[in-house]
Symmetry: C2
Subunit: 360 residues, 2 copies
């Protein structure tokens, strides 16, 4: 066992500098005037002894952890890295630490979360990492929280940071209908609890309604935001001899789109000539699919940053914004049927717009 050498403590510093521990503490935290001569003596000793204050002791004394926790359901989906990057940036800027837990993994027997008020000052909760009951439980314990891509049930008062799903989807589907004359659009549903799926579906239906197209339950499949599930669902759909005709697919998200592409290609369905395909998120991979995926750009890193900001707000006793809704924009690439007149077909990973020439 790597026994840690007896730590040098604030008491050692105090003794060597011939001051009280209180003074050392004050110098350390810069929260009270300490005379220059003492300051200098203290600093010298700290340098000499290579002193680092013990976070735990400070936390216990102040009952602040200086740490926030992030809870995500898994790490599959492509945009997690972006979310984390945004969060970490903001969190470390304010000298907080970031504890990360992946929901799936932490199904403790005792229904006790690995992250909570015992080890964090507050939690960032992504989508359905936690059930509503679990969230309510933490809320009862007064744990500061911010929800990401999910709004809190109406009786609770938890700030939310999410993206505009509905109108972007509507615009995207309208593009399919108006520009590419698609009318039989297959909807790949996300998981039911997922709020993003819900609003995307609403936007989808709005677009149909805009053009007096009846929503057809037969033109839906259950896909979740998962590549393989989407692949299998699409495959099953295509292999059903009585499946209705369709001329486009709205995938729910980009990861699902990957599975949809595979299933379609396997059956030699041409994208976009026979069937337009569109996704949502504009993850890193979208511009690299063949054909490049038309989708909706979600500013995920920004979402991460602003969620962290809201939580920090809460921790500082300032009033957070109840709902932060980040704007999204459709990104036209070729999978909808649009064509491109530049030849550097890949140099735009970041979700930038392309100069497109719309072809019906």
């Amino acid at each position: 066992m790597t026994k840690r050498t007896a730590n040098i403590t604030i008491r050692d510093i105090a003794r060597e500098a011939d001051v009280s521990v209180a003074t050392v503490s004050r110098y350390l935290n810069q929260n009270a005037y300490v005379s220059p001569s003492l300051s200098e003596r203290i600093q010298k000793v700290m340098d000499r002894l290579d002193y680092v204050p013990q976070a735990t002791a400070r936390q216990l004394a102040t009952s602040k952890n200086n740490t926030i926790g992030l809870l995500v359901p898994n790490m599959q989906n492509n945009f997690f890295a972006a979310l984390l990057a945004g969060i970490e940036q903001e969190v470390s800027k304010h000298n907080f630490n970031l504890l990360v837990a992946i929901g799936d993994t932490n199904q403790n027997q005792r229904n006790q979360f690995s992250l909570g008020s015992h080890n964090t000052d507050g939690l960032l909760i992504f989508a359905d990492s936690l059930t509503d009951e679990q969230i309510a439980q933490l809320y009862d314990r007064q744990l500061p929280m911010v929800l990401i891509h999910k709004t809190s049930t109406s009786d609770l008062n938890i700030p939310t940071v999410t993206i505009e799903n509905k109108s972007a989807t509507r615009k995207l589907i309208n593009h399919l209908i108006e520009v590419h004359n698609r009318t039989q659009i297959l909807l790949v549903r996300g998981s039911e609890q997922q709020e993003d799926s819900y609003w995307r579906e609403v936007g989808f239906k709005d677009a149909l309604a805009d053009h007096d197209i009846a929503f057809d339950e037969n033109l839906t499949i259950r896909g979740s935001f998962d590549r393989d599930i989407a692949y299998n669902a699409m495959k099953a759909f295509l292999e059903n001899p009585t499946h209705p005709e369709f001329d486009a697919v709205f995938c729910g998200d980009d990861d699902a789109a990957i599975g949809i592409y595979d299933a379609l290609k396997e059956k030699n369905v041409q994208i976009p000539e026979e069937v337009s395909v569109v996704g949502f998120d504009d993850t890193q991979i979208a511009p690299f699919l063949t054909p490049p995926l038309t989708t909706v750009m979600a500013p995920t890193e920004e979402v991460g940053r602003s969620a962290a900001k809201q939580l920090l707000c809460l921790l500082n006793g300032r009033n957070p914004v109840p709902v932060t809704l980040h704007a999204t924009e459709i990104v036209l690439r070729q999978s909808c049927g649009c064509s491109i007149h530049e030849n550097n077909s890949q140099n735009q990973g970041g979700g930038f717009y392309k100069k497109v020439n719309v072809l019906p």
Copy 2:
């Protein structure tokens, strides 16, 4: 300020259950026999008061943080999510917490790291997140550490978990030479400090030597493991009217390959007809490039898991493996010139081998 309600403590439990705090503590930690009747009383009170032990107090008393820290230089590169997933999995399995810090962000004035013995029991350090001096400094403080994709300087004794770079690269380049008759292969160098780059370059040279091809310094460019840097370097190379001819590019890693693709396509260089391109890592994006990228599969999630394992080993006083070298394998897709006889060209994100038909 969301004042936390006065916490219920072990003392409350003890009082209500009419036992001593020592007994509650023992029951909590299951580290000494507590009679069934007391146990029951304690459990009841804990349930009733909804008690959660305060991690900080426990940490201070035991001088264990039950937390390990992960340091990464940035989050750009695609494989970070996989690494993190592997680490979190292992760490949470052992009921440890995971603190994440991104190196770039934390350049504190005082040369004090946000992660260290003051808030973690040990550190997982990815590649060159820290300088050798910084590592040495932490080592002096006896902080348990494991290096990932980097070996420790010979005077220190820090376990390393990394991948086999050299022989895989050699095999990859030999494939280019032997199967596709490439002889003028451009080397896109990674950053100098990066050990992966170093060994890949050695493997590259070995392959040339295998075929008595002289290594040509003019056939190298400085690329780093970064898409944009690689793009610009490749572009500059191509625009130099006196640039030497080349018939293949070894990109250093997959991210760089993306930039190389862009630069090549911009100049209408056909991949792989005119120039073969190969990468390293087999990140999620590799099979989706056009043409799909031939590369080397690095088991990143596994690397994460095993790094965490070694650190946990260290923390438990058991002897860690000094160097864990994970095997890698070349993955043939089309960018080298191989062709494929299946039509589902994308349904293999995970880095599986394809059934390939080798064409010279």
